[in-house]
């Protein structure tokens, strides 16, 4: 009767098994340091231009929008505070994660998916290598290191974007903007802003690997796996940011 529940439950179980193995491999060898470095380059350095662009414009736009709202209360001087809090707590981590999900969860899923359908994964196992150790764990480690760093970069260029509007359009001085932005941030905000990308990194890399390794049915299957990975990773980013925000708001 409840047969329709079987596939999703089985998928969740498989995802947990994959995550468990990927995490366990952190503590046992062999470690493929070269693969980690290559993945850090693809995921981190490769995402940098788009993260810079999106980070800058999100700060730019928030400041423009907020300056109008704040003008009603005669509080345009507080714009630095608003940009800092929204970027560091929420938009920086989420926008960066969504970019990386779109760029790298899809990349991981299509790469592993192609390897799966051309029997390279089987070949790897037949030649004595654990594909999870060789493919999944390096991608997970690389994303967990690079995503928080990318988020910090996005937050910073976002603040610069806000500064450009605050200085040229609103007419604040440099120190008014930066002092206001700096003083608005508490340790709680920073902790939240760094915890989020770290958790997102697990989700993005593991979801990408999960759908990639489950690929069946040739090239069409690879396309399908890629799409599913991006959608699932993006949805989970929103679910998790809501949960973490909820916890931190209560803590405060």
């Amino acid at each position: 009767m409840l047969d329709f529940l079987k596939p999703p439950v089985a998928a969740i179980q498989d995802f947990y098994v994959l995550s468990g193995r990927a995490l366990r491999n952190l503590f046992r060898g062999p470690h493929y340091v070269d693969d980690i470095a290559i993945q850090m380059d693809t995921i981190g350095v490769g995402s940098l231009p788009i993260v810079l662009l999106i980070g800058f414009f999100s700060g730019f736009v928030i400041t423009m929008q907020m300056s109008r709202a704040l003008a009603q209360y005669g509080a345009t001087g507080q714009v630095g505070q608003i940009v800092a809090i929204t970027l560091v707590r929420e938009l920086g981590p989420v926008l960066t994660a969504l970019l990386v999900a779109g760029r790298n969860a899809s990349g991981i899923a299509s790469e592993l998916g192609s390897m799966k359908v051309t029997e390279q994964i089987d070949a790897m196992r037949a030649l004595g290598t654990d594909p999870i150790q060789k493919l999944v764990t390096p991608r997970m480690i690389a994303t967990c290191i690079m995503l928080p760093l990318l988020t910090i970069v996005a937050d910073f260029v976002g603040l610069i974007g806000g500064y450009v509007i605050a200085y040229f359009s609103i007419g604040l001085t440099t120190s008014e903007y930066w002092t206001n932005a700096y003083q608005a941030l508490e340790y709680n905000d920073i902790a939240q802003g760094l915890l989020k990308p770290f958790v997102f990194a697990f989700i993005i890399s593991l979801v990408g690997c999960f759908y990639g390794l489950r690929t069946t049915g040739g090239t069409q299957g690879v396309g399908l796996a890629t799409t599913k990975a991006v959608v699932a990773a993006s949805v989970w980013v929103f679910v998790i940011t809501s949960l973490i925000t909820r916890v931190f708001v209560n803590l405060h």
Partner: protein, 264 residues
């Protein structure tokens, strides 16, 4: 063995002795590839037992399997080469990544060159698999399968999708491999000619050519089957025929007859 509700392999039982050749024929979807993957533990059966190189592998964990599998060479359909690394790194992979006693880079390089010379592709060392033709990829796959000199080699449809001339070249390499190192072979194929070549020709180390098996005298003690080649025909996951080439050609079964060309 079953996938969801579909039974892929049903009561399949056989034994492959040292330096024997077994040719598995069957239509697409008859369970040939599944059989081959189950034999090295890539797929686990729901019931029954599998012994690999004298050791039961049915209950082993993946990590324990790695060592046993290093005694088996596998050629996957389409070669299964890693397309992100060069031919040289592909062929060196089994040597550098085996769990016990991995080779040093120098040792591996010598063996890789020897293996690629064996398949006559020494000039492709620095190339990537995507730059090679289908037949060349298959040959690199053979080099990777045999580079660690395993006593057992499995071939999954080595000639699928190749033109007859290239296909014969590949089969000649497989026969050469078998006869220069006396390996056991499991060959899964849809082409009867592949099996016929394995059953009737031997590689002569002195002349460097394939010769009809009966003329070089090695067949004496084995009677009419000098290359010790057994044919097996599969249908819907079951073995419907098992025997020598002579028995295969004499079979009256309609399905079995489909694999034996009438005019040979």
């Amino acid at each position: 063995m079953r996938f969801d509700e579909i039974v892929a392999l049903d009561s399949v039982s056989f034994e492959l002795g040292a330096s024997e050749t077994r040719v598995v024929l069957g239509a697409a979807g008859s369970g040939k590839t599944t059989l081959l993957k189950a034999a090295i533990g890539l797929i686990r059966p729901d019931s029954g037992k599998i012994y690999l190189l004298g050791q039961e592998i049915t209950g082993l964990k993946e990590a324990q399997l790695f060592h046993i599998r290093s005694g088996v060479g596998v050629l996957f359909q389409e070669g299964g080469l890693f397309d992100s690394v060069t031919v040289e790194e592909n062929v060196a992979y089994p040597l550098l990544n085996r769990t016990k006693h991995p080779d040093t880079l120098d040792e591996a390089e010598t063996k890789v060159r020897a293996a690629l010379r064996f398949v006559e592709l020494e000039q492709t060392l620095e190339q990537y698999p995507s730059e090679l033709s289908g037949g060349m990829r298959r040959r690199v796959g053979i080099a990777r399968a045999v580079v660690s000199e395993p006593p057992l080699v499995l071939y999954d449809s080595p000639t699928a999708g190749l033109d007859p001339i290239t296909a014969n070249l590949i089969m000649a390499l497989i026969a050469k491999e078998r006869d220069s190192r006396e390996t056991a072979n499991l060959i899964v194929t849809q082409r009867y000619q592949d099996g016929q070549l394995m059953a009737n020709f031997r590689y002569n180390r002195n002349s460097g050519h394939l010769e009809p098996a009966s003329t070089n005298g090695a067949g004496g003690e084995n009677g009419s089957n000098p290359t010790r080649t057994i044919f097996m025909v599969m249908k819907d996951g079951r073995v419907v025929f098992e025997g020598t080439q002579h028995e295969l050609e004499a079979s009256q079964d309609d399905y079995v007859q489909k694999f034996v060309p009438k005019h040979t």
